[in-house]
Structures are given as structure tokens and as C-alpha cells.
């Protein structure tokens, strides 16, 4: 029985992998165990793709300790911008600052205050609104504040070498875009942001007047449209034009078809309008974070514990989700299973996303503190990180970024940035998957084989090797690799193998079929003859028996 043999092989392979893993853990001393998912959706031990390189705190960067930082961003100029949300400035007014370092974490400058002189027209407009009573004094002083009040999101748009910094200034109800003119020569290299545009709450005839405008994240596309993520809005991200005009919403999630939603839809058919009004409204879950890649696709994530769909979306400029239009809608992101462990339920809550220049996606799971790395076809590559106190584990993860082959994770409670570096195994897999996704299956064969030598549990390697052999026309080997790893791959390989098999042995098949047909014909003829003879015999016996009698 081939399957038993296969199972035995797999068990040995798993044991060997576990043994290798144990030694590698002992060597690399990681506080988390690397794992991955196999074809069955079961977690299996795996080699670590990323290990901790170093941990940086505020002191390492040359500034005061960070205080609940909630976002960071690597600009195209390879500078790191950190939104230090709860920092108390020495001046006493405001809350929060932006810390800017280069990629080696040496301080470039910090921003604590803003200069609004560049937007005098806008200020005058707001002043007149205040005088007309369209704007309250509190709101006016918020949006025209010269200091931050809890900045939770930062994005940098580099245009011809000039950095424009966009900050989601959450408790000031605004997003500010500013540039830096000159950097102070004090200890913290304090710089003042020269404001270009301020994006505030849209006029109430376009924007629901009952919901607040507390921007939590911000990003800018190539056309300089500003996308603002607001936790209280379920219609998607709020989009502003470059000049600060409200353009609409972008990329709302779908309403998940739960039992309650379906039941409500049924009742709505029956209820009168007054009754229907009193029902709970079915609204989609809000998007909680996003990122944009080089081709201007926007990726959104949903943090909700209960959400099953639209966890990660890849949206084109029309707002259509690429990842559900591929024909598969059963993508799973984060951990596959909800685990109950020591009185706590663990189900993935994806809080941040980062897409690097190769299209590799890093998802950050708030609940388990893990980073889930996917390629651009949503194949799970690596899982690393965790909850804990050691290096490489976190308390409350807030942001993930990547630069080159390093992944950076920001911890809001530990107030530090952990740098993960790629292992040798990680490099092999990345090389292989890059070639594989370009369709260069044969070139990817050597790295996949190497990956499999290091970790025989690594499921993607089987797919890669199967495709390589399938492309070469070695269908039998391809089938071997696809067996219990990919049904579609196995089907393709098997189809071609069967075709070849029949073609090669056509004479044999023809002879067998002819012999069978002839055999059936001869037997039927013979049986017919026997039957006729038997019947004649019976008739004769019958006649003999009744010879003496008159009528029969």
C-alpha cells in the first residue's frame, strides 16, 4: 500500500525535521519555535526564516525613551519615521512627536511642533467658519493646533528627493502634511514641520455627522491622493484629493454572511419600514490598517476578532479586491485555528501590514505577536515572533516594516523596535519563491531542493519541485512531489502521465482489448450452443417420459 509507506516516510521526515529544529533552536537561541502549515492545514515544525538581529529603544537612537509608539514607516530615502504617540514634550503642551532616524537607527531629527504660516488661506477660511458659527471653538483650536495630540500614523511621500511627511494626528481630528526646512542643532535635532496641507473632517453634507473624525493611519498614492483610515467608519478609507477636498470612500469590506445577517435580511422582507428601522443594522467590519506597494495597489487588513472574510485585501485603484477575484475565496491569513490556552482564546487579529519591493507581504498579528510572511500569491512563507519578554517576542505589537532582507517590528508596550534578519534558509526560500512566481520553475529547482534538504516539512518546496518536474516533462517525479501536497498539480501531472502511458503501450492495450472482445464472443457463442443442446436434451427426455400417454 503506497499510502502507508508514504505515511511512514512522512513520519520519519517529521521526526528528522523536529530533530534538526531542536538543534537549530539550541544554536540560534530563538524564544519562538518556527512552524508552518502543511497541505492538511496542520501546523508542523519548520526552520526559522527570520531570527532576531537587534533590539533598538529610544536611548539607542539618541532620544528620550519612546512612549507607546504606534506606527513607523520606512521612506524611499531609507529613513525610518516613528510616530511616538504618548510622548510628553518638554514644553508641556501637546502629546506625541515624530522621531526620524536613518536605517541604522542613528537620529536624524525629531518633530514636535508645526509651523502653520504656509497655510494662511486655509487658516483664514477656518477663522471665518468659526465666526459664522459653522465650527466650534474647541474644534477650531484642535485643527489649528501647532503641536501634535497623539499621532498614530505616519507616511512619507518622496517626490524628487523631497520628503513630505503625512501624520494622522488622531486627537486633533486632522491629518497634516508637512516638510522639513532646517534641522536644529540641539541634542534632539528638533525640527519644525512646515505645514503644506491640513486634511480635516469633510463637510457634513458628505460625511456622516454622527461619527467622529479620528484618523488613525494614513497613506498617499502616486497621484498624491490621501487615504485616511478611521476606526469609527465602516465604509472604508476616507479619500482626500491633494488639495484637501473630500473625494469619497475606498475599499469597504463586505458584510460577512453570518446567520444573524441572513435572518435579518429575511425579516426585512416582512417588516414594515418603521419596524425595519429599529433592527440592528448589518455593517461591515472597518479596515484597521493599510499599505501601498510600488504598483499602487493598496492592501488593507481587518483587525476584528470575529471577521473571517476580507482579512487581507489587495485593492486596485477601482477598489476591487484582487485576492478574491483569482477564483479562490478561501484564503486564510494568520493562524488557521482558534486556540484556547490558559484561559485565553487566541485567534489572529491582523493589526498591520507591510508590502516590500518584491511584493512579499508581512502581516502582524496582535494576539499572538507573530509576523506571518506571505509571497504575493498569498503562499505562507514564514511565521516568527511571539508573545513574551525575551528578545524577539512582544507585548503589544503595533507596526511592521521591512527594508531589504530585514523585518522591523514595533512594540508599543516595550517601546522598542526589534530587527529580524533573514536566515540562510530564509534566503534560499525567498530566492526560490521569487523565481517560482516569475514562472522560472526549472531555475527554482535547485533552491527548492536545498530548502527541502533543510526542512522536509516545507510544503511550498514540494509544490515548487512538482512544478519544476512537470515543466520538464518528468511527470512521474512530479506526481511524487504533488502527492498529498497539491491536488490540482497532481491532476495535471497525472493527466499527462496517463496520456503518455497509453500512447507508449498502445499495442498492448489494443491486443488486450481485442483478446477480451474475442473471448467474450467465443464464450457467448459456446454458451448459446450449450443451452440449445441442453434444451433439446430436456425435450427428448420429456418426450421419452411421456411416450405412452395420449396428449401432452
Amino acid at each position: 500500500m503506497p499510502s502507508i509507506k508514504r505515511i511512514a516516510m512522512r513520519v520519519t521526515a517529521a521526526a528528522m525535521a523536529a530533530a534538526t529544529l531542536m538543534t537549530s533552536v539550541a544554536y540560534a537561541d530563538e524564544p519562538y519555535t518556527g512552524y508552518n502549515y502543511d497541505w492538511w492545514g496542520d501546523p508542523v515544525p519548520s526552520q526559522n526564516g527570520y531570527v532576531v538581529d537587534k533590539v533598538y529603544t529610544g536611548a539607542d537612537m539618541g532620544v528620550d525613551a519612546l512612549s507607546e509608539p504606534s506606527d513607523m514607516f520606512f521612506s524611499e530615502t531609507e529613513n525610518l519615521f516613528i510616530a511616538d504617540t504618548s510622548y510628553k514634550p518638554a514644553s508641556g503642551s501637546g502629546k506625541g512627536r515624530i522621531v526620524v532616524t536613518d536605517k541604522n537607527f542613528s537620529l536624524k531629527y525629531t518633530i514636535e511642533s508645526l509651523d502653520l504660516s504656509g497655510v494662511q488661506d486655509w487658516l483664514d477660511e477656518k477663522q471665518s467658519e468659526l465666526n459664522a458659527g459653522a465650527l466650534s471653538q474647541a474644534d477650531f483650536s484642535k485643527v489649528t493646533n501647532t503641536v501634535f495630540n497623539g499621532p498614530t500614523g505616519v507616511y512619507v511621500d518622496v517626490d524628487e528627493g523631497e520628503e513630505t511627511i503625512y501624520v494622522a494626528d488622531k486627537d486633533n481630528d486632522r491629518v497634516v502634511a508637512f516638510t522639513i526646512d532646517k534641522i536644529g542643532d540641539d541634542k534632539y535635532k528638533t525640527a519644525v514641520g512646515k505645514v503644506r496641507t491640513i486634511y480635516t473632517r469633510p463637510p457634513s453634507n458628505m460625511y456622516d455627522s454622527t461619527v467622529t473624525f479620528n484618523p488613525s493611519k494614513v497613506l498617499v498614492d502616486a497621484a498624491k491622493n490621501v487615504y485616511v483610515c478611521i476606526k469609527s467608519i465602516t465604509k472604508g478609507a476616507v479619500v482626500f484629493s491633494k488639495e484637501g477636498d473630500f473625494n469619497g470612500y475606498f475599499g469597504a469590506n463586505r458584510v460577512e454572511a453570518t446567520g444573524e445577517v441572513l435572518l435579518n435580511a429575511f425579516w426585512k422582507l416582512i417588516f414594515s419600514r418603521e419596524q425595519a428601522k429599529k433592527m440592528r443594522r448589518s455593517v461591515p467590519v472597518e479596515i484597521s490598517n493599510f499599505d501601498i506597494d510600488n504598483d499602487n495597489f493598496i492592501y488593507t487588513v481587518t483587525e476584528s476578532k470575529s471577521a473571517e472574510t476580507d482579512i487581507l485585501k489587495k485593492l486596485n485603484s477601482a477598489g476591487t479586491n484582487i485576492y478574491t477575484n483569482l477564483g479562490y475565496s478561501d484564503y486564510t491569513f494568520g493562524d488557521y485555528l482558534t486556540k484556547y490556552y490558559r484561559g485565553q482564546t487566541y485567534s489572529s487579529q491582523i493589526t498591520d501590514i507591510d508590502v516590500d519591493e518584491n511584493g512579499v507581504i508581512n502581516l502582524l498579528d496582535l494576539k499572538t505577536g507573530r509576523v506571518f510572511q506571505y509571497d504575493d500569491e498569498c503562499n505562507l512563507l514564514f511565521i516568527f515572533g511571539g508573545i513574551g519578554q525575551q528578545k524577539g517576542t512582544f507585548n503589544i505589537v503595533n507596526a511592521v516594516e521591512s527594508l531589504g532582507d530585514k523585518v522591523y517590528v514595533l512594540d508599543g508596550r516595550k517601546c522598542s523596535i526589534t530587527v529580524f534578519k533573514q536566515t540562510e534558509f530564509g534566503a534560499i526560500v525567498h530566492e526560490a519563491i521569487a523565481l517560482f512566481n516569475k514562472g522560472k520553475y526549472e531555475e527554482a529547482r535547485a533552491p527548492w531542493e536545498e530548502a527541502l534538504r533543510r526542512d522536509s516539512n516545507y510544503w511550498l518546496a514540494y509544490i515548487g519541485l512538482g512544478n519544476a518536474y512537470l515543466n520538464e516533462g518528468d511527470y512521474e517525479t512530479a506526481m511524487k512531489y504533488f502527492y498529498y501536497n497539491s491536488r490540482t498539480g497532481y491532476n495535471d501531472a497525472f493527466k499527462s502521465w496517463r496520456m503518455n502511458f497509453i500512447r507508449d503501450n498502445f499495442t498492448l492495450f489494443a491486443v488486450i482489448i481485442i483478446v477480451l472482445l474475442a473471448g467474450i464472443y467465443i464464450i457467448s457463442v459456446w454458451r448459446g450452443k450449450v443451452r440449445v443442446r441442453k434444451r433439446a436434451e430436456e425435450e427428448r427426455m420429456f418426450k421419452e417420459k411421456n411416450k405412452g400417454k395420449e396428449d401432452v
Partner: protein, 254 residues
Amino acid sequence: MRFNLDMPAWKWPFYIMRHPFEGFEDLRWKKAYNMKVALVIVALLFIVSVCGELMTGFLFNHSSVKIFNIVPIVIRTIVIFFTWVIGNWALCTLFDGEGTMKNICVNTAYALVPYIIGQVINIILSNCLQKTEGAFITFISYVTILWTAVLLISGMKTVHQYSIPKTILFMLITILAMVVILILLVLLVSLFQQVYIFIYSIYTELLYRFSNLEPTALIFIFIGAIAAIFAIVVAAYTAYEKHQIAKERKKLNS
């Protein structure tokens, strides 16, 4: 008579398969119920189910081969078969059914032959066909299941001498009876588990009480106690038997 019905016992299932309606009548008329053949068919059903789990081609195999467990298969085939037989007998005897347990068992088993043959064909086909040709497999399994259902109705009708609507009604009620039997079985099993837990907790209790004793000594005491109870029961039984024999003798003597 076109067919010679004096055939060996193993040919009967195939004859019945080809004659769904008169086959069982002939079987009844010839009184050719054969328990051995029926049990072989049940065994084959079990084997085919195991093979279906293990040997169905990868493209069509949706069972979890990673953890192969034989207990569900035993329950799915053998246990369900015998619960059906017992449930049907227990029910239909009360409602003018003429079938004995043996006859019901044999008829049910003979009705399963098309399903088994269909499964075998499917296992072979699943290793030769590709995904898009899977319709053949579905077709074969539907046809054979339908055939088995027809045979089962015919068999139950013949064995109890019912009308067709009554047969179908009592087959449905039999399913309910099976559920009841299985629930009782589960209860019984859990009861025995409770007994086991009871004895085990006595053992642990003793272990704590006499913690100064060696555990091995305790085991000996425990075994000794059980042996003593057993000995008393045996002694009482032999005494009773002696008494009975003496009574008999007295009767004979008088």
C-alpha cells in the same frame, strides 16, 4: 422454469442482484438462506470500506489518511449492519413480520452486493481517472446505492411478507429503532466505564489510606479481596448445585 435454482449458496447473491423482485421470493421458496455467505458479504463490506479509505486515488480521496482510524469504519459497517438486523427484527416481529433474525440478516447482506461491487469499481477507477472525469465515479456510486436500496426494500418486503408502503414505513421506523439501540449501547458503555472508575477510585482510596503499605502489597490485598469474593460466589454456586442434584436424586429415587 427458465432458471435452474439448484445452485450453490454463493451464486444466490448474484442471482438476486440480477432479479431484484423475484430473486428474494425464489430464495424464500427454496429456503436457501445461508448465514456463512451473509457474514462473508459483511466482512467484504468492511474490507471494501477500509480499502476505500486507504486505496482510493489521491485525486478523489477526501478522507484523512494522515491519521487512519479503523474504529469509525467498524462502526459504519459492521455495527450499523447488525443494529439494522436486530432493530428490524425486534420491530417487525411485533407487527406481523414473518422474518426470523437469520432471514433478515441474510436478505440485508445480499442486498448490499451491488454497493460493494460499485465501491470496488470506484476504487479502481479513482486510480485511473483525472479530476474532470470524476462524474463517472459519482454516477456509479449513485446507481449502485439506488440498486442496493431497491434490493433492500424488496428483501425486507419478501422476508416479512409486507406490502411495499408498509415495508418502507417500517424501514424508516427501523432507523429510529437503530438510533435508540445505539444510544442504549453508548449508555451501557459509559456505565461500564463508571464501574471501572469506581473500582479504580477504591484502589486509589486504599492507596491513600494505607500509604504506609507498599503499593505492591496493596495490589496483592486488592487481588486477594477480589479472589475472596470470587471464591465465595463459586462456593455458594457449588453448594446450590449440590442441593439441586440431591433434589433430582430424591425425585428419581421416589
